[in-house]
């Protein structure tokens, strides 16, 4: 009996995670990241800085094609393995469109033959992002601002991640009563990017404006494709957030072991020690649910969707607690721009609201396990 098979996290997955941890520690250590995204000379008005050459390297390693079907030239790794990689991405707070490209691949995999050209572009190393949200971050047909009529897209997609770092958008638009999905090049005629001013220094978010953009639907059943893909997307985001929370935990523990007050290291005091333990417990809850969810998806288990809601709800609460305690337990230095903690604090604030917060996920879970809330 191979023990590694228990949650489908095998040798390949372990190697991928290890490789990622090493590469990112070497190429994007926190002081370098901080200098890049938060340094005094960082350009705060143009596109947020990122390391595009590191991204190309990741693409060459195949990371952006991990969720693409083999038949489309992808690598089709189990979701448990990809979740392991995302933990390392989160730990490094790495800027770049990996999560988004994976998310788009997961939706495309639900679409069918019409997705072939889009998948070929991704297999060739292009990056893509979801342009599916309304102004409040939801993705229901009736609320969408983008509309498809007579072969043309018009309107605005909100909360588009990695806005200027991708070559394609997977667009959701109202189409009659339904929601259809489209594949649109970032450089297509009539597409305009408007950058949001966001708190997170590691992401690039904005709106995509469509003015009479010529487009062909990928699928008319857009809502069901999104519904089918989202559990995996939530799980990957949750894993990334768990990795970032773990960085905050380890960094704060290290500080609590070195900084002395009242002739003792801070971590001697239980008002410091116990919250750090509570944070560890919360991170472990999130991590276990992430891998349980990923494994359930790999196995096609019925419980997968419930577990994905659990994982993202847990990740949101864990992230909130991690960010809160890390700043507080660093004291005055934690309140400064110089202390690296704020990079993670801000990145986690973003992750918490992205694609559903804790209460939203628990409300969806409640509908599934308790039943609907009467009107």
């Amino acid at each position: 009996m191979s023990e590694l098979d228990e949650i489908g996290f095998g040798e390949e997955a372990a190697l991928l995670k290890q490789q990622a941890g090493r590469l990112l520690a070497e190429r994007m250590p926190i002081d370098r990241l901080h200098a890049m995204v938060a340094g005094h000379d960082a350009n705060r008005s143009g596109p947020p800085p990122w390391d595009e050459s590191l991204w190309r390297e990741m693409v060459d390693l195949g990371w952006s094609a991990l969720a693409l079907p083999e038949s489309a030239g992808g690598i089709e790794m189990p979701l448990t393995a990809i979740a392991g990689l995302m933990e390392e991405i989160g730990r490094a707070a790495l800027p770049g469109p990996l999560l988004d490209t994976l998310a788009v691949s997961l939706v495309l995999a639900e679409v069918g033959d019409t997705a072939q050209p889009a998948m070929t572009a991704l297999a060739g190393g292009d990056a893509a992002s979801l342009a599916i949200c309304d102004r409040y971050g939801a993705w229901r047909a009736e609320d969408l601002d983008v509309e498809y009529r007579d072969g043309l897209l018009n309107g605005r997609a909100w909360h588009v991640q990695e806005l200027s770092r991708v070559q394609h958008f997977l667009v959701a638009a109202r189409n009659g009563d339904g929601l259809s999905l489209f594949w649109v090049d970032a450089s297509a005629d009539g597409v305009q990017l408007e950058r949001d001013d966001i708190v997170d220094l590691t992401r690039d978010q904005g709106r995509v404006v469509f003015r009479n953009v010529v487009a062909m639907p990928l699928t008319l059943q857009g809502q069901s494709a999104l519904d089918a893909a989202f559990p995996a997307i939530w799980t990957l985001l949750a894993s990334e957030m768990a990795g970032a929370s773990e960085w905050l935990l380890q960094t704060t523990v290290e500080y609590a072991c070195t900084r002395q007050q009242f002739d003792r290291p801070l971590g001697w005091f239980q008002a410091v020690k116990h919250p750090l333990v509570n944070l560890m417990i919360k991170i472990d809850e999130t991590r276990s649910l992430v891998f349980e969810a990923a494994c359930a998806m790999d196995d096609g288990a019925e419980e997968a969707r419930d577990l994905a809601h659990m994982a993202k709800a847990s990740a949101c609460d864990t992230a909130a607690f991690a960010a809160n305690r890390s700043v507080q337990l660093h004291g005055g230095i934690g309140f400064t721009w110089e202390c690296f903690v704020h990079v993670y604090f801000k990145r986690l604030l973003h992750g918490r609201s992205l694609w559903g917060g804790a209460q939203w996920h628990r409300a969806r879970l409640a509908e599934r396990v308790i039943g609907p809330l009467a009107a």
């Binding site: 009996m1 191979s2 023990e3 590694l4 098979d5 228990e6 949650i7 996290f9 997955a13 372990a14 995670k17 290890q18 392991g84 773990e246 935990l249 523990v253 609590a256 072991c257 003792r264 290291p265 971590g267 001697w268 005091f269 239980q270 410091v272 020690k273 116990h274 750090l276 333990v277 509570n278 560890m280 417990i281 472990d284 809850e285 991590r287 276990s288 649910l289 891998f291 349980e292 494994c295 359930a296 196995d299 288990a301 019925e302 419980e303 419930d306 577990l307 659990m310 709800a313 847990s314 209460q359 628990r362 409300a363 879970l365 409640a366 396990v369 308790i370 039943g371 809330l373 009467a374």
Partner: protein
Amino acid sequence: MSQAQAAFSPEQEDFRTYCRQWLLDNPVGPAPAGMPSGPLEITQSEHMAHLQRWQKKAWEAGLIGCDYPVEYGGQGRQHCQEIANEEMSRAGFPFLPNIVGLGMAAPTILHHASEELKRELLPPIFSGEEIWCQGFSEPGAGSDLANVQATAERKGDKWIINGHKVWTSLAHFSRWMILLARTDRSDKYKGLTYFVAPMFADGITISPLVKITGESGFNEVFFENLEIDDRYRLDEVGTGWQVAMTTLLHERGASGLRTPEVIPQDQGDGGTVDARSLIELARTAQGDGGPAAQDPIYRDRLMQLLIRERAKSAHERRAQVPALQDHPQRLALQNKLLNSELVQDSAALALDMTGSTSTLAQGDANAPDGGLWPYAYMNSFGATIAAGTSEIQRNILGERVLGLPRSK
């Protein structure tokens, strides 16, 4: 809810089939009236006798102690106790009364006793014929366990024990006690020695204490010149603290060796403290106005508990994957804390949801779920206090796993 199944070895699969068949062939008749909810509250001989009878039958069938070597009353199996536990629990088998013997004394004896003692003491632990208790805590030694003051003085090849133990669960039925005693006053830790004490000998007075629930089950134990043979000492004089750590590791469920136990399952009668029972309760419970299941805030709280509960079984599977551990003890040492606090918070939510009816006690005809919830809430503090309080568990996790400075 379906769960992706863990992979089991052929031995485990065969053993599972065997256990299922045996449990089918040996249906347990009705229990005597008034059976308590767990082993720590047994006070009547009739209840104890019933439970001992069934523990013995299960041991004879090979379901108890099966991962221990054959010469000590086991079956020499690999990772099969967890299978037997699952099957006995699923079948609603009576809980095993010898909780201290199985969970604490047996693994400690296995690791620290002489060959002769192992052969003598282990089989009757598994058969349930000899009940055990734990004589660690004293009035002045609770969280600070190393402060034990009960003394053991050497007299030839005997030890003379004097002192006062407290909170000693099951002492009133016990034939043996695992005993931590002081052999040297000059050193707090190295002055401790570990014994197994015969509770049937002269020089012992046991007086029961009543719990917050009104039940009894734990006791004060007074020793006055109790004589113990030197052969009942475990390991060397002065190593009691290390031996006690073995006991505590197993007591907190943080070791690899699975304790034989039957966990009461939800038989669909709302009889257990778990998220499923809470959700059922929420469908009828009314705080103010409608059922709690239709209140968004209660729904959110229910889901928070469901998530914590589900994460625990997810831990068990992630713990099998070395590549996903940062520290080998990180998940194992959380076990006791997670379980005890989840039960407490679950019962607390049930009390909130049941509003004015939450105060109806067990025995009241109108009490929701027969008064389970206020009882479970009160009783839950036993688990957050015993075996190292939740505060002490957090110290241990912070110091051993996160490497924070030791505060003792």
